[in-house]
Symmetry: C2
Subunit: 168 residues, 2 copies
DNA sequence: TCTATTTAGTGGCATATGCCAGTAAATTCC
DNA sequence: GGAATTTACTGGCATATGCCACTAAATAGA
């Protein structure tokens, strides 16, 4: 009955933003649990993993591919820098540019957390289906793409004066 | 080419948590843009809309159906309470319990923002496809469900000692 | 009835995220 | 070459989110 309420009464069935946010909260909690008392969260693990994968990427580039505001990325890196898991390196050609990489300690931590992530990911696949999981991730990647954003923003009409179109 | 990198180099193609988070960031930005200079964000609109829909729900219940930590809900309500869009009402039978509803000002604001939300939602449907949107929202609702969380956590093995299963 | 346990909410602390303003550096334009 | 414009990053402010500790109230158990 309680679960029935969830499926019938929620704006998340009508609003895509809310639906994605709500799912993000659920998964965020589950993946944070998976990290246990390691001192880091699921999101920090993800960030470190992407840093490792991108290989000394510039901050701007990293923020772009993660579809994240540059200053937000800077903020989010703070604890990782503070704890010595990540370091910033100046670019050789452009003094404005910073590059980011894992420290040795960071790489070791990332490996430790990968073991926990693997368990969580297996659990996700078990609960949702492995192939459906891959399909879902591709779908979400499309939604996260510049292509989608362009299609969403079309003629930029939501950025200009908005003619009232209320339901109310 | 840059977009190609996005599709080929990101952990979001392998990690469901990251994928949902990244999509949430994209949509968060787009729906926030849709709210324009109204003084409220997409998330606040969603919260007010769900409050309206739930009808004087208890805080605990609201947090549950939104798959949100109760204290997080309390925090998130603060600016809405402060600005008079939302009010808390004591429960008649249990002095611990608070119920939440929109004020008249809040209801008016919610109607105003609904007009903007409708535009954004139309844009989402245009970019993604209306029927695919509905399907995606159902999928995300399943992921957000207690049923999914139970299947994910089944046996609670990630809550206990975690045997190393590293990739590293 | 009384004690032990559970529950609903609050505040604190910390990370996650985004807009904005400002500075220094690079690029563009005349 | 010099001025105007754009770019990359940093810090500030505010909301978003979650764990934790605590208090008051309700419930469960003896």
């Amino acid at each position: 009955m309680m679960e029935k309420d969830q499926f019938e009464d929620g704006i998340w069935l009508y609003c895509s933003n809310s639906a994605v946010r709500r799912a993000a909260r659920q998964l965020g909690q589950l993946y944070d649990d998976a990290m246990g008392d390691t001192g880091l969260k699921g999101t920090q693990f993800s960030l470190m993993s992407q840093i490792a994968r991108s290989g000394e990427s510039t901050l701007k580039r990293l923020a772009e591919i993660m579809v994240m505001d540059l200053s937000a990325l800077g903020h989010t890196l703070k604890p990782l820098l503070r704890d010595g898991f990540v370091e910033l390196i100046p670019d050789e050609k452009d003094r404005r540019v910073k590059r980011v990489r894992l420290t040795d300690a960071g790489a070791a931590k990332q490996r430790e957390l990968t073991a926990r992530w693997t368990v969580a990911q297996d659990h996700f696949d078990k609960a949702f289906g492995k192939e459906k999981s891959e399909e879902l991730r591709r779908t979400l990647a499309f939604i996260s793409s510049p292509e989608f954003a362009r299609a969403f923003s079309g003629g930029d009409e939501i950025r200009g004066p908005v003619p009232p179109k209320g339901q109310g």
